[in-house]
């Protein structure tokens, strides 16, 4: 059995997990997605004994495929200008043929590509969570000015607005960046109707929270962490990225656990990171799930979480195993040990210019 990680080897979670798995005696390969280069070419031989080659790696029965960050397909830049659209569409089809095929093979996918496409939709998440018994704030997803105004004007609760996807605007004039985050919104703050049609939004009842919860799901195992933000920001993410939160290991209420397990089953996923807000009465409100949400930062803030080790134990667990992950986590090194190793290599690296490294990112815009 080997683990094939569908991501760049230098991805911020792939690198430490690969290192930890190899330290634990596992074979690990990385493949980031279909591209024209030798290492990224893919072949799907479909006969009585299908064979799938992801670059130099052959997918074999019993392998574990961690679909961490599959990249967009890339066609050969030397293709004729007149053929570029065709090449792009063909590469896109090959990408989908590869990604969706994997879950039909005798391998374990974390998560199945079809399930990830399904559950990565905010509308699906919110409806499914409510159907599984989790508390979910009322929400409107809309680009209709009339619907948005009606939601905010006839809502007795405070409300927030958030984007479907994160985005960053790099400010060329004054420097720095602007990043999307959840913000409180009243009817009186709404802009002109036309502005509400520039981009759809998610409008939702605000949970007046004591603190946030990040829950990591690994199979039937659920690990929850309270996030305490001294700034009491509505959206903790940027503060977490800057190291300004505290992480506390907490128990997951029984009814929430049952709801999470039901959700994961209905969604067809075995791994993910869920966000909850805990209100003044201690009730947990489901906000969203990221089926490939980052989790090693929890180890960084609270080493007792040991999520790197738990995840390694999870993806190398024998099929059908119900053994606690804690029984095997010591087989793998911790994220703290990885960071110590990383520190010895950091000085040899050149600084990276973010804008130069990712000019075509769909999540980055330039503004004057």
């Amino acid at each position: 059995m080997k683990v094939i990680v569908l991501a760049q080897e230098n991805d911020n979670h792939t690198a430490p997990i690969k290192w930890a798995l190899e330290k634990g005696g596992c074979q690990v390969a990385c493949w980031a997605g279909v591209s024209w280069t030798d290492a990224q070419q893919t072949s799907l031989l479909l006969n009585e004994q299908p064979r799938v080659n992801l670059g130099p790696h052959t997918v074999e029965a019993g392998d574990v495929i961690w679909i961490r960050r599959l990249e967009q397909p890339v066609y050969n830049p030397n293709v004729s200008e007149a053929d570029r659209k065709f090449a792009e569409m063909e590469y896109r089809s090959m990408h989908n043929c590869t990604a969706y095929l994997l879950e039909t093979l005798p391998v374990w996918c974390i998560n199945k590509f079809s399930a990830s496409r399904f559950i990565n939709n905010k509308s699906v998440q919110l409806l499914l969570a409510r159907a599984c018994g989790l508390k979910v704030p009322k929400a409107l997803l809309s680009n209709s000015p009339a619907a948005v105004r009606d939601f905010l004007e006839h809502n007795s609760n405070r409300a927030i607005c958030k984007a479907f996807m994160p985005h960053v605007w790099q400010r060329q004039g004054v420097g720095g960046v602007a990043v999307t985050e959840t913000f409180e919104l009243t009817a009186g703050q709404l802009p002109a109707d036309e502005v509400l049609t520039y981009a759809p939004g998610i409008y939702q009842d605000m949970v007046v929270k004591q603190f946030d919860i990040r829950t990591v799901i690994m199979g039937h195992r659920i690990y929850s962490y309270a996030l305490h933000n001294p700034k009491k920001a509505l959206d903790w993410r940027q503060d977490a990225g800057m190291g300004k939160i505290e992480v506390e290991i907490v128990s997951t209420p029984e009814d929430v656990q049952q709801g999470i397990l039901a959700f994961a089953k209905k969604a067809g996923i075995c791994f993910g990171s869920m966000d909850f807000a805990v209100d003044a009465d201690g009730r947990w409100w489901f906000l969203e799930i990221n089926e490939q949400g980052q989790f090693l930062w929890l180890d960084q803030f609270n080493p007792e979480a040991r999520l790197q080790q738990k995840f390694c134990a999870f993806i190398t667990a024998p099929e059908g195993s119900t053994e606690p992950l804690e029984a095997r986590e010591k087989q793998f090194p911790s994220f703290d040990e990885y960071l110590k190793m990383y520190e010895t290599q950091k000085e040899s690296q050149e600084p990276i210019d973010i804008a130069a490294a990712i000019p075509n990112s769909p999540y980055l815009s330039q503004e004057p």
Binding site: N12, E71, N120, G176, P191, V195, G241, Q294, Q349, I358
Partner: protein, 55 residues
Amino acid sequence: MKNDRDNRVLSRTMARLITPEEAEAVFGSGAFPPHTNTACSFALVGSTDGDVGEC
């Protein structure tokens, strides 16, 4: 192209502004070794169909 409040999307108007130093701390380009302050980073490398590097 106008760049005033009237023609910007609402999420940009209400976006959080962070300094170049704070951006460096949060946005890794995915290079090894990672140079973000924490492993809770926003990967701006594009993925397909909604795979994003947000926490």
